[in-house]
């Protein structure tokens, strides 16, 4: 239908070649073309964080990024993080601290927290709160999400 382009990028550690319409978002590519549904659609407008992925070491809303802009980059999604043993303590902390209810926001929260802890391994509670500001959760009231990240950062403030 629309104009397409072939792109190549590293996705969760493997090189991928995909042909995508130029108007397609990275979120649609991940979910509909590559069938990686761990990255969620919550708003499509960069306002909820459910679609958070890591691109070249930065946390990004996949719904705001064009798929073609993944070309040549390194992209990590929740599927990549879930397969990475190094992220086990964070995911386990989410589970153990009761940070998961309906769970729809959780992949985005895990991604954002992963990035946050990479930037600031010993983040304080206030830094964690600010770091999660762009991720909405309707169920938990955030406290247990903050507790989970704080458990990993080892903060007691």
């Amino acid at each position: 239908m629309s104009l397409t382009r072939e792109i190549a990028f590293t996705l969760n550690g493997s090189l991928r070649n995909v042909t995508v319409p130029v108007t397609m978002t990275a979120l649609a590519m991940l979910r509909d073309v590559l069938r990686l549904t761990g990255t969620k659609y919550g708003c499509g407008e960069g306002e909820c964080g459910a679609c958070t992925i890591i691109v070249d070491g930065r946390s990004v809303n996949a719904c705001l990024m064009f798929a073609v802009d993944c070309d040549g980059r390194t992209v990590t999604t929740i599927e990549g993080v879930a397969a990475d043993e190094a992220s086990e303590p964070l995911r386990q902390a989410m589970v153990d601290n009761g940070a998961v209810q309906c769970g729809f926001c959780t992949p985005g929260m895990v991604m954002q927290s992963t990035w946050l802890l990479e930037q600031n391994p010993h983040a304080s509670r206030d830094e964690i709160k600010r770091g999660l500001e762009g991720n909405l959760c309707r169920c938990t009231g955030y406290k247990k999400l903050i507790d989970a990240v704080a458990a990993v950062s080892g903060t007691n403030q």
């Binding site: 999604t77 209810q101 769970g103 309707r138 009231g141």
Partner: protein, 772 residues
């Protein structure tokens, strides 16, 4: 010979992580949007561009001609469609006229979402505008336009309740006050948007992948709607991305997806965009409420008269029935001899309201708890003492017939007040109202009563369980209860573990398929832990009896002297191991007896249906809570900052501490949003902020500090003593914040939400007026 012994190890009251959390934290959980059925088409809905208009002509020919389009349907294509909703006043596809912005007039099934959207743009509709109603007060005026022709007075629903004689109550009063309150639109904002997949098999049986909270009620309703045998409908519920009451009714998109599947003979997946979610999901019921209350000088309440006007929107969903809950708060939260309650719900061209966590109780509590402060002030009594004087106690039967078998209300009040130092702070902040500086502090208190043991609204309030143990002592619990994120599967597993002495990892809960699970009325009224919990316990006890009776025969001990612990059959007195449970099960299975341990249980709570006057003990238990909040109000900007919440909840008993804390915290923050940040802006029937940029949900940095105390009253009917708690924590917040703003500033605000603009206007009426 060393004999192994096992001590009793209870999971009740512990911090048990949610069983499905590891998958959810790994992105492995597949919600409705993540499911795809081979051969599926994508459905999209064309909504009205007008608010109230006659549909003169719809032309779908261009849309039909678009390559990749498989069906375009309008009301004319589904002559057999039937109305949905509580009043059966809502056609899924509108043929004659549209009555609100969200109205569905056509739908497309296509090879992709993009093509379906393209096709919508090609549908031509001609309208003829009709006069509108946006203010519910206008709906009752003589000569008002009619929204639904069969309702000549625009009245969708009326509720009348009374006990005692309010005239006598008024005569006995030393002080009488009356105020009006206005409660706004907010919406659920489930993080997962709505969606459905509809598929017919070759024999005409319908399979729905649905997010419903009430699968068994909906099975019946869909059958009526489609005029097919309910036995031919199967509903599978994939994990649900948030419910909060929103999935308690059928909405037009569901029948529309089914019509598209029928027309194309293909599975049809229909997902909302976030904008659609804002426009076309139900709201919390907006209310205009007048409350008149009286009190004697000694601090005893005399009467309450309540009159509410509910904006029903264009169609009727559960919002119109929130008076069921609202009247309980007025009649029974505090002892009051005389009470008169009336609601009129009227049709307008606004969005319509559904059920939303708390079900009218946030609105009722907002009014009643502000009045408690005002009445106390009027008679010069401390507001805490005033509340304690009128608070219900265990054993009471209220004017409405509610029987409080356990009641931790007074404990809730004193606990929240003591932990927050409410009285001293209140006095200090009141004294500081006139002090220099624009930033003021205040504390506010509010309490609530809510059903905590189900609610007998439908013919049955029950839940069924099927339980089986396999040869390896793995337990499968098939429950009717739906899981919407609240943690029911974990609590049910815990309760079963308690009876069968198996580790949590040995239990699987199946709760999502109407072809497998037994009937349940649905997730609503905070009932799942209580009702489904008792049902699961019942099934587990039957299995336990069967196992212990068999074990008694081989161990030469009485069944009553045996116990199940950690996967073993043991002697109850000292925990000495007799044999592994799995071995016992295999010996039953593979012996001459050839028996499997499979049990069923149906639990119906010992509550009653209310009579025509809404009287009767509608729930098997009642939950209580008090919340104290501390706020900071910047009088120069109108910004209200919620600093801390002290919550004391009578929950019967804590079953899963982690889960119940999560419910309370999430509810508090949802209540904070209702009070301070959220508003769905409806102007002349049009939603002005259908996105998260302009609809302000609370974010992580804004949450208050939370101090939560559980009051354990060990309810005699509750599962292990527990009561339902899902809705309770959201209910008090708006009322408590209103009282805190008054304490900080001396100004009482009767209208929600407490956004900076509204608060500023209330604090500086002259300035606000001058600026206009």
């Amino acid at each position: 010979m060393t004999t192994k012994t096992i001590e009793k190890n209870s999971l009740i009251g512990r911090r048990i992580p949610k069983m499905d959390a590891p998958d959810k934290a790994s992105g492995k959980t597949r919600y409705i949007g993540d499911l795809n059925v081979s051969g599926q088409l994508y459905g999209k809905i064309l909504r009205s561009g007008r608010i109230h208009a006659r549909i003169v002509r719809i032309d779908t020919s261009k849309a039909k001609a678009l390559p990749g389009v498989h069906a375009v349907i309008t009301a004319a294509d589904v002559p057999d469609q039937r109305p949905i909703g509580v009043n059966k006043d809502h056609m899924p596809l509108k043929g004659d006229k549209v009555r609100s912005q969200r109205d569905e007039i056509a739908a497309v099934a296509a090879d992709s979402e993009e093509i379906a959207e393209e096709a919508l743009k090609l549908i031509e509709v001609e309208y003829e505008d009709l006069p509108t109603i946006f203010d519910p007060r206008d709906a009752l005026k003589p000569g008002a336009p009619l929204i639904n022709d069969f309702k000549k007075d625009n009245v969708a629903m009326v509720f009348d309740y009374s006990h005692g004689d309010v005239a006598q109550g008024e005569a006995e009063s030393d002080v009488v006050i009356e105020d009006s309150f206005e409660l706004h639109y907010v919406t659920h904002c489930c993080m997962g948007v709505s969606g459905v997949i509809a598929e017919f098999d070759a024999s005409g049986n319908l399979l729905l992948y649905s997010n419903t909270q009430v699968p068994f009620l909906h099975k019946r309703e869909f059958a009526e709607l489609l005029n097919i045998d309910p036995g031919r409908i199967r509903i599978i519920q994939p994990p649900i991305g948030g419910g909060f009451g929103s999935k308690l009714d059928i909405y037009p998109f569901e029948p529309i997806a089914i019509f598209l599947a029928r027309a194309t003979k293909r599975p049809v997946k229909l997902m909302f965009t976030r904008e659609e979610e804002f426009l076309a999901s139900p709201t919390r019921q907006p209310v205009i409420l007048t409350l008149r209350s009286g009190v004697r000088k000694d601090g005893s309440l005399t009467f309450r008269t309540v009159d509410t006007l509910h904006d029903n929107g264009a169609y009727t969903s559960w919002g119109a029935t929130t008076p069921f809950v609202m009247m309980q708060t007025f009649s029974s939260l505090y002892r009051v001899e005389h009470c008169l309650y009336k609601t009129t719900a009227v049709y307008t061209n606004n969005p319509y309201a559904g059920s939303f966590r708390g079900y009218g109780n946030l609105q009722a509590t907002f009014a009643i708890e502000q009045h408690m402060d005002k009445l106390a002030e009027a008679i010069g009594m401390d507001p805490l003492e005033f509340r304690l004087k009128n608070a219900q106690e265990a054993g009471e039967v209220t004017g409405q017939g509610m029987h409080f078998k356990t009641c931790g209300f007074k404990d809730c009040i004193t606990t929240a007040a003591e932990r927050s130092d409410y009285q001293a702070k209140r006095r200090a902040y009141k004294a500081a109202q006139g002090a220099p500086g624009s930033v003021k502090r205040g504390v506010g208190i509010a309490s609530m009563l809510h059903v905590g043991g189900g609610a007998k609204i439908y013919p049955s309030d029950g839940c069924g369980t099927i339980l089986k143990l396999d040869d390896f002592a793995h337990v499968t619990v098939m429950t009717g209860a739906s899981e919407i994120g609240q943690g029911s599967e974990t609590v049910l597993a815990q309760l079963v573990c308690e009876e069968l002495g198996v580790p949590l990892g040995s239990v699987t809960v199946v709760n999502n398929d109407t072809d497998i699970t037994p009937w349940d009325v649905g997730v609503h009224a905070s009932r799942t832990t209580f009702i489904a919990g008792n049902s699961a316990i019942g099934a587990a006890r039957k299995a336990r009896d069967k196992i212990l009776n068999a074990a008694a025969k081989v161990s030469n001990l009485a069944a009553g002297d045996l116990d199940l612990r950690d996967g073993f059959i043991v002697r109850a007195s000292d925990g000495q191991v007799i044999m592994p449970l799995a071995k016992m099960l295999r010996s039953l299975h593979f012996s001459d007896k050839a028996e499997l341990v499979m049990t069923t249980h149906y639990y119906e709570p010992p509550s009653v249906h209310q009579d025509k006057g809404f009287k009767g003990d509608v729930s098997a238990a009642y939950a209580w809570a008090t919340q104290v909040v501390e706020v900071e109000v910047d009088t120069d900007t109108g910004i209200v900052t919620l600093l801390k919440v002290w919550a004391a909840h009578d929950v019967g008993r804590v079953l899963n501490r982690l889960g119940i804390e999560g419910q309370i915290e999430g509810g508090i923050v949802m209540g904070q949003g209702y009070a301070i940040t959220e508003t769905l802006m409806i102007e002349n029937g049009v939603c002005k902020n259908p996105n998260f940029r302009d609809y302000k949900l609370v974010t992580a940095p804004e949450i208050p500090e939370m101090d939560i105390t559980f009051i354990e009253t060990m309810d005699g009917e509750g599962p292990q003593g527990a009561k339902g708690v899902g809705e309770a924590p959201a209910i008090c917040m708006a009322a408590a914040v209103a009282n805190a703003i008054e304490n900080a500033t001396g100004t009482r605000i009767y209208k929600l939400p407490f956004t900076p603009e509204n608060v500023y206007r209330a604090l500086h009426p002259a300035l606000a007026e001058a600026a206009e």
